[in-house]
């Protein structure tokens, strides 16, 4: 790796196709080569520039479409919970609230598990177990969202309704907290949060594993030499070294959870209401768009949905940018 960096291919090329020796006229082949090189360089640079252009285009297109709603409702778009297409009032607060709560719930459940898996895979797993477990976790990321939704509707929700919700509320007496009150419908914030936890776990654990692998061996050996137990090596020597990368991974998982659409749409119950209880149905920004976009009544309804999309785009852009930056800070040192 360092070898490749030290010897930059561009420099090699300059030696090979550098200026021709003085005096000799340049042949057609050389000119052809030069033109070929130029065309090649410009075309790959052109393809590369399409990535920022695409991103810019997304922002502009969604932003322009969202503008009428943003202008009409201003800040109240974010704070009002009155979403009434018939009267033409649009406030996205319930969807924003639902997006945040379901994502936080997902992270609370997924983070300890994901860190556990990542540490297990990078430090403790016997080699025969490492491959299969890593592959299984990768597959978790490969399962399409709609299949999580299907599984959620027919397996997870009945389980929550019959067992987990009554268990939390009555057996553990958590019903005294507002979080766990109300009838157990099944379709709920809790269902959405749990499915999101399963879905963002592989992302968090993949990034964490990557940064743990970037921690130098000497760091571990030094701690071991000082008499640390295997757990203390992880806690005191490895994790602090990889901390910002791990946080980046968690934020990356947050980004996934914020924008996840299909599974959440199928499980959250889709109701424009802010409820303190996790047992109650809710809405997220992504599921709001998925549900109402094709049946939008009138231009303002459409613009309001675009505005929801724009807010979602802005938030996930920032979250992903921060996460990537943190991960790069750690993994770059490899």
């Amino acid at each position: 790796m360092t070898d490749a960096v030290a010897r930059d291919p561009t420099q090699v090329t300059e030696v090979a196709t550098g200026p021709a020796p003085a005096g000799s006229s340049r042949s057609w082949t050389e000119i052809g080569t030069e033109i070929g090189d130029r065309v090649y360089t410009w075309s790959i640079a052109g393809f590369a520039s399409l990535v920022p252009i695409l991103l810019l285009l997304i922002f502009v297109a969604v932003g322009v479409a969202a503008w009428p709603a943003l202008r009409a409702f201003g800040l109240s778009f974010l704070t009002s919970s009155d979403w009434d297409p018939v009267a033409g009032h649009f406030g996205a607060a319930p969807a924003i609230y639902g997006t945040i709560v379901s994502s936080i719930l997902a992270l609370v459940v997924a983070t300890p598990l994901a860190l556990g898996v990542a540490v297990f895979l990078s430090e403790f797993a016997p080699s025969w177990l490492r491959g299969p477990v890593a592959f299984a976790v990768d597959l978790l990321a490969a399962v399409p969202s709609v299949i999580y939704g299907l599984w959620g509707i027919f397996i997870l929700i009945p389980f929550l309704r019959e067992y987990l919700m009554p268990f939390l509320r009555d057996t553990l007496h958590l019903g005294v907290l507002p979080l766990f009150t109300g009838p157990a419908y099944g379709s709920s914030m809790l269902a959405a949060g749990l499915i999101l936890a399963i879905m963002c776990l592989p992302y968090i654990s993949a990034v964490t594993r990557e940064v743990l692998l970037a921690v130098p061996r000497s760091q571990r050996e030094a701690a071991l030499a000082l008499g640390a137990t295997r757990w203390e090596v992880i806690r005191d020597a490895v994790i602090p070294y990889a901390r910002s990368g791990i946080i980046g991974g968690i934020i990356l998982g947050l980004g996934r959870a914020l924008g996840e659409t299909m599974a959440v749409t199928m499980l959250i119950g889709n109701r424009h209401e802010i409820s303190a209880s996790l047992f109650a149905p809710g809405y997220t920004m992504a599921s709001l768009i998925a549900n109402e976009f094709s049946e939008a009544t009138g231009d303002m309804h459409l613009a309001a949905l675009m505005a929801v999309g724009f807010v979602l785009l802005l938030v996930t852009f920032l979250v992903n940018a921060i996460a990537r930056w943190l991960v790069w800070q750690t993994a770059r040192e490899r």
């Binding site: 561009t10 090649y40 297109a61 898996v117 709609v146 852009f317």
Partner: protein, 303 residues
């Protein structure tokens, strides 16, 4: 260790107490270490439990409906059992085709650029933005494609859906291509240049060709990812209950069909949804497994 009066003489009571305390601390630390390591095993088991459950349920609930008719017939009206998703399977293949036609050239070109000019400002920006783009919600890609490709022509189309999926492929393919091209030894490039190959021919017929296996793997993984995407298709490809292969008309897709069947009220359609899900997951898993085996053979056990 804590002895103050050297080695001579029998240990005093205080020394013995200190030694015992040290012993206890060490035992406690070892115990805690074992417990934590045990918890890691538990975490790993809990993390893969959902995958096992999903696979088991898919096979149990979808297995019986996956038969030849599923691949050759069209959907039946609710109340009739049987039928298939032939149009949705073909639709998904067409959508993947369009997406690849859009995503692969751009992604591979951009990946080549990142691997060859790795430190320029453009390269750093593109690398960063590709990662960010990769994390953007797919529903946003859906409304973006609707705004640009559906709204102006006033009808939903397979083309719009395919392009939306293709745009999602770009950042994935870009990053895997870059990684694969960077794995090609620099000496290979030097050898080609020393033999008088021009730069672009070295890149295309030596470097790219050497990295081709890895790039194909990356492309397959990206295809598997978008094959299951639903959200970008909701307002672009829309879905179609009839047979259609026209690029300018709405087209059916496996994930859309699964979604529509899953939220319907009919048991027969639920069974079809499970069968469709089993087929979709089968496709995705086989591609992932193939990609994994291919990379492992090429570059050794790797991880």
């Amino acid at each position: 260790m804590a002895a103050t009066n050297g080695w001579a003489g029998a240990p005093s009571g205080r020394q013995r107490a200190v030694a015992e305390r040290t012993e206890r601390t060490i035992r406690r630390r070892r115990l805690r270490s074992s417990v934590m390591i045990g918890l890691m095993y538990v975490a790993a088991a809990v993390a893969i439990l959902p995958l096992l459950l999903i696979v088991i349920h898919l096979i149990r609930l979808g297995g019986s409906s996956v038969n030849l008719a599923f691949f050759t017939h069209m959907q039946r009206s609710p109340g009739e059992s049987g039928g298939g998703m032939a149009n949705a399977i073909v639709g998904t293949l067409i959508l993947i085709g369009i997406a690849s036609a859009v995503g692969l050239p751009v992604g591979i070109g951009a990946g080549l650029y990142l691997a060859e000019k790795r430190t320029t400002l453009l390269a750093t920006t593109v690398r960063f933005l590709a990662d960010v783009l990769n994390g953007l919600p797919s529903i946003v890609m859906g409304i973006f494609a609707w705004e640009l490709l559906v709204k102006p022509v006033r009808h939903f189309s397979a083309l719009a859906g395919g392009i939306a999926l293709g745009a999602m492929m770009i950042p994935m393919v870009t990053r895997t291509t870059e990684e694969m091209v960077r794995l090609v030894p620099i000496s290979l490039r030097e050898a080609a240049l020393a033999l008088g190959y021009s730069r672009w021919r070295t890149s295309l017929s030596i470097v790219l060709r050497t990295a081709l296996g890895g790039i194909v793997t990356g492309a397959l993984v990206a295809m598997a990812r978008i094959a299951g995407e639903t959200a970008p298709l909701l307002f672009t490809a829309l879905g179609n209950q009839f047979w259609s292969t026209s690029l300018r008309a709405p087209i059916a897709a496996l994930p859309l069909q699964i979604f529509n069947y899953a939220i319907s009220a009919y048991d027969e359609w639920h069974a079809q949804a499970w069968a469709g899900a089993l087929v979709l997951v089968g496709i995705v898993f086989v591609i992932s497994l193939a990609a994994r085996v291919a990379t492992r053979q090429r570059y050794g056990a790797g991880d």
